[in-house]
Symmetry: C2
Subunit: 206 residues, 2 copies
Amino acid sequence: MHGDEDDGRRAGSAVPLELLRARPARERADAARNRAAVLEAAARLFAEHGVAAVSMDQIAAAAGVGKGTLFRRFGDKSGLAAALLDARERVLQESILHGPPPLGPGAPAAERLAAFMDAYLDYLLEHLDLVRMSETATPGARYRIGAYRFWHRHLAILLAGGPDPEHAAHAVLAALAAEHVAALLPELGEPRLRAGLHRLAIGRLA
Amino acid sequence: MHGDEDDGRRAGSAVPLELLRARPARERADAARNRAAVLEAAARLFAEHGVAAVSMDQIAAAAGVGKGTLFRRFGDKSGLAAALLDARERVLQESILHGPPPLGPGAPAAERLAAFMDAYLDYLLEHLDLVRMSETATPGARYRIGAYRFWHRHLAILLAGGPDPEHAAHAVLAALAAEHVAALLPELGEPRLRAGLHRLAIGRLA
DNA sequence: GGAGTAATCGGACTATAGTCCGGCTGTGCA
DNA sequence: TGCACAGCCGGACTATAGTCCGATTACTCC
């Protein structure tokens, strides 16, 4: 899924469990230590100086690892951002799949849509810079990470009544892009942005 | 507006004509020559190797100018892309302002909306890589360039009947972002994408 | 035609993302 | 406990965007 660091334990892949256990499936102790050190250092530096102002060199130095380790582990800066967001994303996804209505299953589609827009916007506003980094570091990154596919699938199902739910879901997600929200927030303010996004999801834009 | 290179002749600014003529308003002959050489070299290299695969160094070398000249003139890579798109954009903007209906004034808003979506998508698909570069080179670039403001204003006027035309216009433009269209095109194909965008503009998404 | 001036020129310089590979070490096995 | 090796480590290396400033040169005014 999203945090696809290239270690052995990929979740949800089709590889049989035996094959994973054939080679040392667990990551080495030093690798685990370094991973934790990197995530901790990155979180601290990002919080301290802002996401954009922190270089990968600084993170590597602060974590006490080499650049090679950093990049092999997380791919690039967007991968590092995704890894930091991973836990938060899982919580939201879990609430959607198995949580109580209206965010979870059991409520009418329109109510679930509204709940999703609110919940996603909450998540986005809380981590705007980090999400922005994870979406824009490399061209097309946003559409490749597993999280996008999850949100898209969820929206397409909720929009199933319309003419083209697949495209409608993409259109809603376009308006939820971190870059877009970051640009609109100072211009419109949060309440107006939130209301507009609700109308978009409901299909009452014009 | 969009191609805001920092020479003396800014179009559409509020500066009185006298002030512009007080200092040497015309660009120097060598500057004009270099500007043309850069644009020509960039257009050729972009067409030959693709926008992403051409470095600013290569462009400078091919144009026979130094890097300093290149960057002073166009600011950054997105500025260069914007300058190359400038002529095309003006044509579209002119058609909207003074051309025949339904793209130009005189037709009902719904028809003008459909015409705009078609015309903009034509423009976008024809120069997808270049627009993408101009929009994504630097964070927030898309929302700062004058062209975005133009499209937004136009859409907001056409969407005037709805609850929040300003936000609706932003939402439509979010779905027209080069990054977004580039990601959806291979997945949905052009006809489906076009149809979906029409529905979005009409407000019949769901 | 000549001097003054202001803008331009261009290449050296910095900062950062991302790659590569020789050496090392933790881990599983005997 | 010792061995073999897969996988990890980390810093040197490359490529590119963007900055800076001394030298140069086009334009203006006398």
